[in-house]
């Protein structure tokens, strides 16, 4: 009986302790970055051109936004269309569908450095785009494709069949039903997936160093080399000279991530998934 009590007590302490540790680590990381970075947020950090004097993060910020938009512009249509095919057109249990699922699963498990390597070999070298915004965006668009596909598929699945049948009953064709009835109802779920994808793009480094390069500039064309905020931070940490500015950059990155998480949680909550 005493043994029983001890077991309960020890395991209780361990489980609560582990959860507290997880929360504590997060609080510590965020607190530490804010504490070190916030005092160094100053106007010169958002100057429009970068030099080693001002260590401006503005080119990085603009590059990150462009990189995100371009990657999404490539990946979202493909992901949404693929999800439409898988949910509305494909025959159940077809060999092709299982192959698509298998490859999508494989893609979601590939680490970003492998994407970076592939991007270097294919987009940068084979297609001859050089280190560029375009090569980076194409590389990232493959990386986020499984995420977009999965969230979109789930969203389309959760649209009740009654809506489809209603549309068919009113004489709408299959395409019209999908575009006008199914997709609009699935939109919040698709958005949640897109926001998660933005999070991955913003935080990405390894896949970009050898595809988009590391030049800190506001890109003049899709073929200019750019340096996103994450890559910018990595470059700064390697130089070891601008520690304060790195912390400030980390604060900006963290804020973006927190905003993205809050937004996606809001959307998910509003559609009542899980």
């Amino acid at each position: 009986m005493k043994n029983q009590k001890n077991f309960e007590r020890i395991m209780g302490i361990l489980t609560w302790g582990a959860a507290a540790l997880t929360l504590g680590v997060l609080a510590f990381i965020i607190g530490f970055i804010l504490f070190k970075g916030v005092p160094h947020l100053k106007p010169s950090l958002i100057a429009f051109s970068y030099n080693s004097e001002n260590v401006s993060l503005m080119p990085g910020l603009i590059s990150t936004i462009l990189m995100t938009l371009l990657s999404l512009a490539i990946s979202v249509p493909v992901g949404v269309f693929a999800a439409i095919y898988l949910t509305e057109y494909a025959k159940r249990g077809s060999k092709l569908v299982s192959l698509v699922r298998l490859t999508t699963e494989t893609l979601s498990g590939i680490p970003s450095i492998i994407y970076g390597l592939f991007g270097l070999l294919f987009f940068v070298t084979y297609l001859g785009w050089g280190f560029s915004l375009l090569a980076g965006a194409f590389t990232l668009s493959i990386m986020i494709l499984p995420l977009i596909m999965r969230s979109c598929e789930e969203a389309i699945h959760s649209v009740p069949d009654v809506l489809r049948e209603g549309a068919f009953g009113l004489g709408a064709g299959k395409l019209r039903t999908i575009l006008k009835i199914v997709l609009p109802s699935a939109l919040p779920g698709i958005f949640a997936g897109i926001i998660l994808a933005i999070g991955r793009i913003v935080g990405e480094t390894a896949a970009l160093i050898y595809t988009a390069g590391t030049v800190a500039q506001i890109p003049k064309s899709p073929l200019s080399s750019v340096r996103t905020l994450s890559v910018h931070m990595y470059a700064l940490s390697g130089e070891g000279l601008h520690t304060n500015e790195s912390y400030a950059t980390a604060v900006v990155l963290l804020l973006v991530v927190v905003a993205i998480n809050t937004l996606s949680a809001k959307i998910v909550k509003s559609i009542g998934v899980k």
Binding site: Q4, K5, F7, E8, M11, G12, T15, W16, G17, A18, A19, L21, T22, L23, V25, L26, I29, I33, K36, V78, V80, F81, A82, I84, Y89, L96, T103, T104, E105, T106, L107, G109, I110, P111, S112, I113, I114, F118, L121, F122, L145, P146, L175, G203, T205, A206, I209, Y210, S230, M233, Y234, S237, Y247, A250, L253, L254, V257, V258, N261, A265
Partner: protein, 278 residues
Amino acid sequence: MNKSKEKFMAAVFFASALISILAVGLICVFLFVNGIPALFKIGTLEFLGGSQWSPMDQPAYYGILPMIVGSLYVTAGAIILGVPIGVLSSIFMAWICPPRLYKWIKPAVDLLAGIPSVVYGFFGIAIIVPLTGNSIVSASILLGIMILPTVISIAESALRATPRQYYEGALALGAGPYRSLFYVVLPAAKNGILAAVVLGIGRAIGETMAVIMVAGNQARMPVSLFKGVRTLTANIVIEMGYAADLHRGALIATGVVLFVFILIINISFSALVRKDRG
């Protein structure tokens, strides 16, 4: 008119679905075509089993055993540190946590997953490295933290999927709440937990930037837990910038080795998930 539009869009949807197959195909082809010749030129055994990596020397040595061992060390370290904490946290979240607290802890775990690797790396440089140096231990601690959200979210959903009757049955037989959890619910969710561990391994072995920032990156066989080590991922990023010819090929072949590791991990993960679903 309408009919041809229907047909056209159906074809577009179909083509889009094929993109992921195409992507995996291209990735395989380009990695293997660029990596395998170097592998043969160096000699598979020398490459995989050679313990000296000195591509700039004359003659050059291209043995990636130090990096394979390095990756395994830091991954093992991350699992040893991250899995117990992650699994205990997931038990807490799935079964113990009061709903009011869950509203806070769940977004916190999501946030932990969203923090970019460079920010983790920066944190590692500032806090962990001063304590344990640029070393295997530092990389393991940092990776242990980084795999937490992966382990927690997969283990949590596995634990939630175990029927409530198991827990209540154990309680009815006189077991305490924690004994019921650890002896009945946890074993029932065994496959899901294992899947969480496997995915954690995949994350840890594939992580690049954070590891580079804290691991020291010396390309030599690990000498001590408190000395530096280089992983497969670090080898690629550090030297790709200036490598040429055979050296470059050897780095791509390093990527191939990493890719094969990841494929094996992915296959075991999906096998576990499938087993779990029955």
